[in-house]
């Protein structure tokens, strides 16, 4: 029996301690926001925060997490109010298929908690472990700059925009 907290709530897992946290969250606890992408810590889709640090839950045995405090994508919003990083993701209309975005957002939240105004190089270092097959990287960059107050221009989806060259 492993005892820990998930999004501030106590949780107990009566499973094989070798079971990766990813599957304990998804198949046992029913929290589906954390995604399976590769199982070998290559893609970052399963990123959660463990005691404030970003971790790949697909290779983290749940037995190694006694008393740990886990934050998943479901634990970011306060009531109906999205976390500032989630809000920046909405402002920049980042997701396409969306499958990797929970992991992207968790990596970005971890970065900004550690470093509230990261340089572009620091952003690249923090985000390069998270794959996006749809290629939303430029939008992710814009959203992290916006969330850290370094981007204040008009957001991506601007309904007043009709800037088609009609030539």
């Amino acid at each position: 029996m492993v005892k820990l907290t998930v999004n501030g709530q106590p949780a107990q897992f009566d499973v094989d301690p070798e079971m990766p946290l990813l599957w304990a969250l998804r198949d046992v606890l029913g929290l589906m926001g954390t995604k399976f992408g590769c199982g070998i810590a290559q893609c970052g889709a399963c990123t959660v925060m463990v005691d404030g640090m970003p971790r790949r839950s697909c290779v983290t045995p749940v037995g190694s997490l006694e008393d740990a405090s886990i934050t998943t994508i479901e634990g970011l919003a306060v009531g109906d109010r999205p976390h500032p990083v989630q809000q920046a993701w909405i402002d920049e209309q980042v997701p396409q298929c969306g499958y990797c975005q929970a992991g992207q957002i968790m990596s970005a939240v971890a970065l900004l908690e550690e470093n509230p105004e990261p340089s572009e190089e620091e952003i690249a270092r923090a985000m390069t472990g998270n794959y996006c097959r749809c290629g939303t990287y430029p939008a992710i960059r814009a959203a992290i700059l916006r969330a850290s107050g370094q981007e204040t221009g008009p957001p991506a989806a601007n309904a007043s925009e009709r800037t088609i060259d009609r030539g």
């Binding site: 499973v15 479901e74 997701p95 298929c97 097959r133």
Partner: protein
């Protein structure tokens, strides 16, 4: 563009396999049958579904008692923004705000056929506006309706929906107005609609749609309506907040892989390395000995043979899959040597379908001096789709009814083949389409759903969610075919192209696909030459032929399909021709595009954006250019690369100018083109699937990587609107990216790399 030597009437005899894939019945059964079917009202999948509590005004608009307006989007959301744009088409006419409505994927139903996909498969170029061409397009739309194909692909969703969903919205609006007009005893034409209400300005009085819906549904719908003029639009043409974004940012359980029930089982599959290869030995006892493993069941399909494992959770199923330690029966030694031999043989034999034959290529070459001929061979590998969400489906077989929950691009195919696989009637199989964690063509197949259905036969009515591990997904894809090109050009003394001859060898995607569907293939496979043979380039003597090779594994549709390889061949070879003739690659293309102004305009535009100077940008920096007209959209791109002190190459910037005609949502269009560029660059830089001893060598992302954040260039997209017809945007960003990068690398290093991926020849940062 009319091809020389082939009249439009003559094209009737060369209807492509792509057409026949969906059109066999219509061709055989004749026009009378077609006419009968299209004159029948479409199936309304929501009729006779009283438990929903919703009133269906037509197959696209549902209005609930509580006032919620739900718009049914019959195409799969895989990131392309289709739920937003298709809902916007209805909302614009229905006078409801996008933030006030719910959007759902429709059920599998022939009401949601895709006519544009089939039209795009017709042997008529979009800029051919002759009467016969129009007849073809109309006929193709009829064929699509008859066959009831509900497919998301070919970058067709918006083109297909543009009239149909606006009319659905207008029909609902006018029918609601007619209902109110009767109650108020006024003329319908005096009424207005706003924010989900019908308004009578003379009253003034108003009534919510919800209060009218059940009465409206009983009326004969009002259908003699025209959609509004674009000048009246308030939603369409402007960038909207996407309706799917809030749930995706919240981590809501919206994907197929997130399906959950209070009582459920979990599973995975272990399939043979090639179709038809059976297991020789499998340690079922070792798998069953793992606590939590419930069953190991045999699986069999046209895709392959193997086992499904059913367990208490996914991780246990994965462990049991390993424990099976399957030995496969294959004697197959197929590998790269055999693949090379197949291509050599195809080129030596020559022949293959001739997709374009302008002028007299043979005589121009026979008269040429050797020095006037430029020749080059190109090669691209097999590619996997690598959707971030691995293949999965959840199935429940209870009381003779099968329910399937999954992300898919072809729900009517899933329904048909799962029902057939289990010996059920199609009416007893319901397909629930979830959000797709990437599709790119992979989810237009039905293997993942069929395996889940076969496993659900063994779980006594309990739903089973079957998730593939990444290795299984990579090794059992329907791959982008490997392809090679043998190109020859004869250049005149003044640098003009006297003749161009391209042999494009590959396996046939449509042959492979129709084999899986139990249909026989005949005629040309247009995907084998698209991106080269169908380009708007005018050359007096131009031939494109497609020798076919056999491959022991399945190939399928991969984002932009044949354009993904043929544009690489075409655009790299044009670059080589330009260098050899000492001409500017942009100027060369402009000279070939006479008669199709939108293409010339995007080329000029991208040149301006990038300040194009012919390719060179100083000692360690260079640009490459490429163009492709695909899915009715003209796209030109310039890629800029640089080299550091360690000879490592960075992709710094991509400029993209595109013309898809009418733009319904600029932000979504830009995002799609930008994403398509990253998809193409990933493949060009580093992706390949190889075969060894009859099996795919790559398994996970460590051996089949993709572009990472730090490798991604900044991307600038400009949209223009000269095309008089609409084009797609999900795929056309991809084809020019690989050749533009290869051309930039050639300009940077002075060495031409003709084989992808490029990282076999150069190192990327």
């Amino acid at each position: 563009m009319r091809r020389k030597g082939q009249s439009t009437v003559g094209k009737l005899g060369t209807i492509t396999r792509r057409t026949l894939l969906v059109g066999t019945a219509a061709i055989g059964a004749g026009v009378a049958f077609v006419a009968w079917r299209v004159n029948q009202p479409l199936e309304n999948p929501f009729r006779g579904n009283p438990d929903s509590g919703d009133t269906a005004l037509n197959p696209f608009v549902l209005i609930a008692e509580d006032g919620t307006v739900t718009i049914v989007v019959p195409r799969a959301e895989m990131g392309q923004g289709v739920t937003t744009t298709l809902a916007a088409l209805v909302a614009e006419e229905l006078d409801v705000g996008l933030s006030d409505i719910a959007v759902i994927h429709g059920p599998a139903s022939s009401a949601y056929y895709n006519a544009a996909l089939i039209t795009s498969a017709m042997p008529v170029e979009p800029w051919d506006d002759g009467m016969m061409a129009d007849g073809f397009r109309q006929f193709a739309g009829i064929v699509g309706k008859v066959m009831g194909m509900q497919l998301t692909g070919g970058s067709t969703s918006t083109r297909d929906a543009f009239d149909r969903m606006r009319i659905a919205g207008a029909c609902a609006r006018e029918t609601l107005k007619a209902t109110a007009a009767e109650v108020w005893n006024v003329d319908r034409s005096t009424l207005q609609t706003r924010n989900g209400s019908v308004i009578d300005p003379s009253g003034p009085r108003s009534v919510r749609y919800a209060e009218l819906a059940s009465a409206a549904a009983l009326r004969e719908p009002i259908t003699d309506i025209e959609p509004r003029d674009p000048s009246e639009w308030t939603i369409l043409g402007r960038s909207q907040h996407r309706v799917d974004v809030p749930a995706k940012v919240r981590g809501a359980p919206i994907f197929g892989v997130d399906m959950a029930f209070d009582e459920m089982l979990y599973g995975t599959v272990a399939m043979g390395p090639l179709p038809g290869v059976k297991a020789k030995k499998a340690d079922r006892n070792a798998a069953l000995a793992i606590p939590g493993v419930r069953a190991v069941v045999p699986l069999s399909s046209v895709y392959g043979e193997g086992f499904g494992v059913i367990a208490d959770n996914t991780w246990t199923a994965f462990k049991a899959r390993e424990a099976l330690a399957i030995e496969w029966e294959s004697e197959e030694s197929y590998g790269e040597t055999e693949l090379n031999a197949a291509f050599d043989e195809a080129f030596d034999a020559g022949g293959g379908d001739v997709h374009r034959d302008d002028g007299d290529v043979d005589s121009i070459f026979s008269e040429a001096a050797e020095d006037d001929i430029l020749a080059a061979d190109y090669a691209v590998p097999l590619l996997a789709h690598a959707t971030m969400e691995p293949m999965n489906a959840t199935a429940r077989l209870k009381d003779g009814k099968l329910d399937i929950w999954c992300g898919n691009q072809a729900p009517t195919l899933v329904r048909r083949f799962c029902a057939e696989g289990l010996g059920l009637d199609e009416e007893d199989c319901r397909v629930h389409t979830m959000m797709l964690g990437g599709g790119f063509g992979r989810r237009a197949e039905f293997d993942f759903a069929l395996y889940a259905a076969q496993m659900a036969e063994r779980t006594d009515g309990i739903p089973v969610k079957v998730t593939w591990c990444r290795e299984e997904d990579t090794r059992h894809d329907l791959y982008r075919p490997p392809a090679r090109a043998r190109c020859r050009a004869r250049l005149d003394g003044d640098g003009a192209i006297a003749a161009l001859d391209m042999q494009l060898a590959s396996p046939s995607i449509l042959g492979s696909l129709m084999g899986r569907m139990g249909m026989s293939a005949f005629g040309q496979d247009a995907t084998m030459s698209e991106g080269a043979g169908n380009q708007p380039y005018r050359l007096e003597n131009f031939r494109v032929s497609t020798p076919e090779i056999d491959l022991p594994l399945n190939v399928g549709f991969w984002r932009s399909v044949g354009n993904s390889n043929n544009a690489f061949f075409m655009e790299c070879f044009l670059d080589e021709i330009a260098r050899s003739a000492d001409r500017d690659p942009l100027e060369l293309r402009l000279s070939l595009l006479d008669g199709f102004e939108p293409a010339k305009a995007v080329l000029r535009k991208v040149g301006e954006m990038a300040n194009w100077q012919g390719g060179s940008v100083g000692p360690n920096r260079a640009q490459g250019l490429a163009f492709c007209f695909s899915f009715n959209t003209s796209v030109a791109q310039i890629v800029e690369v640089s080299r550091d002190d360690d000879e490592r190459i960075s992709i710094d910037k991509v400029w993209c100018a595109a013309d898809c005609g009418l733009v319904l949502d600029p932000a979504i269009v830009r995002a799609q083109l930008s994403g398509g560029i990253v998809f193409g660059l990933s493949s060009a830089m580093m992706q390949e699937i190889t075969l060894k001893d009859g099996a795919v060598e790559q398994g996970n992302f460590d051996t089949y990587p993709m572009m990472r954040y730090h490798q991604c260039p900044s991307i600038e997209v400009s949209l223009s609107r000269r095309q008089t017809f609409m084009g797609g945007v999900g795929e056309p960003g991809t084809p020019p990216a690989a050749p533009a990068l290869a051309n930039a690398v050639a300009a940077l290093t002075g060495e031409r790399v003709r084989t992808l991926p490029l990282n076999k020849a150069v190192t990327f940062a």
